[in-house]
């Protein structure tokens, strides 16, 4: 139905998945497996944000809200009901999608500056609700008590290896879906809006509708990332929904490359690796991160993958 580029993307995804799944068979490293689990959540989070920032030119400072909401919705559903894990995950993503649709309906008609501000305001509002609604969310302590690790399809997510495999599969499938959206006619429409919204509207594109779809889809995939994050921490914490977390996603997008599909994934990996390495040597993590971001902003003037695409134009896509 989709011709060769789609096949190529699926092949790349399958190859990447096989490699990731094969590594623990050769060598078990808890630190590496942790890293991949966290990366799978962060990669979905950052790549979904890039659908807005890179593809559409909508800079949202409140994307962490949907990441946090996905985590809370999933953890709460698992704790309060006996639903199987996949059902709870789907429910959590649906809740996030609906929330993104509502928030987006208010935000997407605003001009760029006000759009950025109001998304941030919504996130702060959501964060306050999480903090103050103690009886439901556990307030600033977060949702504790863990997530019941029910078996799914023979997977026992209490085991780190199974969690690793589960997260890798979900992340790769999620990224493949995002890739497909970005390469669809709709994805091209988002690029038209980014480049020249006036001309796009003359061509018949209904700007607010396209933006609202993009916002909702991005929110849904951030929610999926949040589900993986909740599985990793076995609960949900307000930090997941706080605005510095949105900043992390923006950093990931900027570090990896805004115009390359896999840029945000690489950026997320760089951020997490930095975090793991730097915190081992110094407590001034923020200082080191700041220097790295300055180096990218002033030196490369673009993210890593975008930089390499400029150097080897026919190479990475």
């Amino acid at each position: 139905m989709k011709g060769r580029p789609a096949l190529r993307d699926s092949a790349i995804a399958a190859a990447a998945l096989i490699v990731v799944l094969a590594i623990p068979l050769v060598h078990r490293s808890p630190a590496f497996e942790d890293f991949v689990i966290r990366l799978s959540a962060m990669a979905l989070f950052a790549t979904s944000l890039n659908l807005l920032v890179g593809n559409t030119g909508m800079v949202s400072f409140g994307h962490g809200m949907f990441y946090g909401l996905g985590a809370y919705a999933f953890a709460l559903t698992m704790q309060m009901t006996d639903l199987p894990l996949p059902v709870a995950a789907v429910l959590a993503v649906l809740v996030t999608t609906l929330a993104a649709l509502c928030v987006g309906a208010i935000c997407v008609r605003l001009s760029t500056d006000y759009f950025a501000f109001i998304t941030l305001a919504f996130q702060m509002l959501f964060y306050s609700v999480v903090i103050s609604w103690q009886s439901l969310t556990g307030g600033d302590q977060g949702l504790r008590g863990g997530i019941p690790r029910r078996q799914i399809f023979g997977f026992e997510l209490g085991s780190q290896l199974h969690l690793y495999q589960f997260c890798a599969v979900v992340a790769v499938l999620g990224l493949l879906a995002l890739r497909h959206i970005s390469a669809s006619p709709f994805g091209q429409t988002l690029r038209m809006i980014r480049d020249n919204e006036n001309r796009a509207s003359f061509l018949g594109v209904v700007l607010w509708r396209a933006r609202l779809w993009a916002f909702t889809i991005a929110g849904a995939f951030a929610g999926l990332g949040g589900v993986l994050a909740a599985l990793f921490v076995s609960g949900a914490y307000p930090e997941l929904a706080d605005w510095p977390n949105s900043g992390q996603a923006i950093f990931a997008v900027m570090l990896g490359g805004i115009n390359s599909f896999l840029g945000p994934v690489l950026g997320a990996a760089i951020l997490l690796a930095l975090n793991d390495v730097v915190t081992r040597f110094t407590e001034y993590y923020g200082l080191v991160l700041g220097i790295v971001i300055l180096a990218f902003a002033l030196g490369f003037r673009r993210g890593v993958l975008d930089f390499f695409r400029l150097v080897w134009p026919r190479g990475l896509r």
């Binding site: 989709k2 497909h180 669809s184 709709f186 690029r191 980014r194 480049d195 796009a200």
Partner: protein, 250 residues
Amino acid sequence: MKLEIRNLTKAFGGVRAIDDVSLDFASGSLSAVIGPNGAGKSTFFNLISGAFPVDAGQVLLDEKDVCRLSKTERMRLGIGRAFQVASCFPTMTVADNLMAAVTAHVGQWGNLARRFPPPGVRERAGEVMELVGLTHVANVEAAILSHGDQKLLDIAIALALEPKVLLLDEPTAGMGPEERWRMIERVRGLWEQRKLTLVFIEHDMDIVFQVANTVRVLCYGRVLAEGTPGEIRNNQAVIDAYLGTEAHAA
């Protein structure tokens, strides 16, 4: 397709940019709109294409009043336009620009279920590229095209929507004398091939008098004169208001 303007009026603040203008553009005609800077020429196009709402009057497309329709609906009925400052999608290649335009035109811009471009779109974009002569730069990013090619791409995007009436706002703006003639010959070629009702704004009087069938002169939002190039050239009011001064300076 016949385009008739009836008593069109538009004011910005207290200034009447277009003041009770009535003009007919016969089906298949090639007309120039001229006038000094600030005469309301671009506003006139903006009102016809639906970029601004009108204060009063009618825009009739084959006798149908389109004044209450959005710019998108007017585009669907066959009004296409290119802009004074070339308006395209700078980070996309020429081919992608046109394929995106065709995709939007066939109502597929929200399609999530398949890969870009949808079937048939590549071929139609290719035809348009061929028509305006941009095939040799198909894979070049629009941002790094020459100024003239960007103007052509803008016109090509308008053509991708299969307009019946095409409004070109200064197709030769910012070009050297030779490039201007090449451009206007292309435009005339398009008009002949596609049997368009074509209206263009132009400052170069040599081009206007040689290319256009009819000429309309706007001045301070009003119609100062209309007629064949020969009639306009000898119209005393036009000479006083416009030709006598600015044409030679330009």
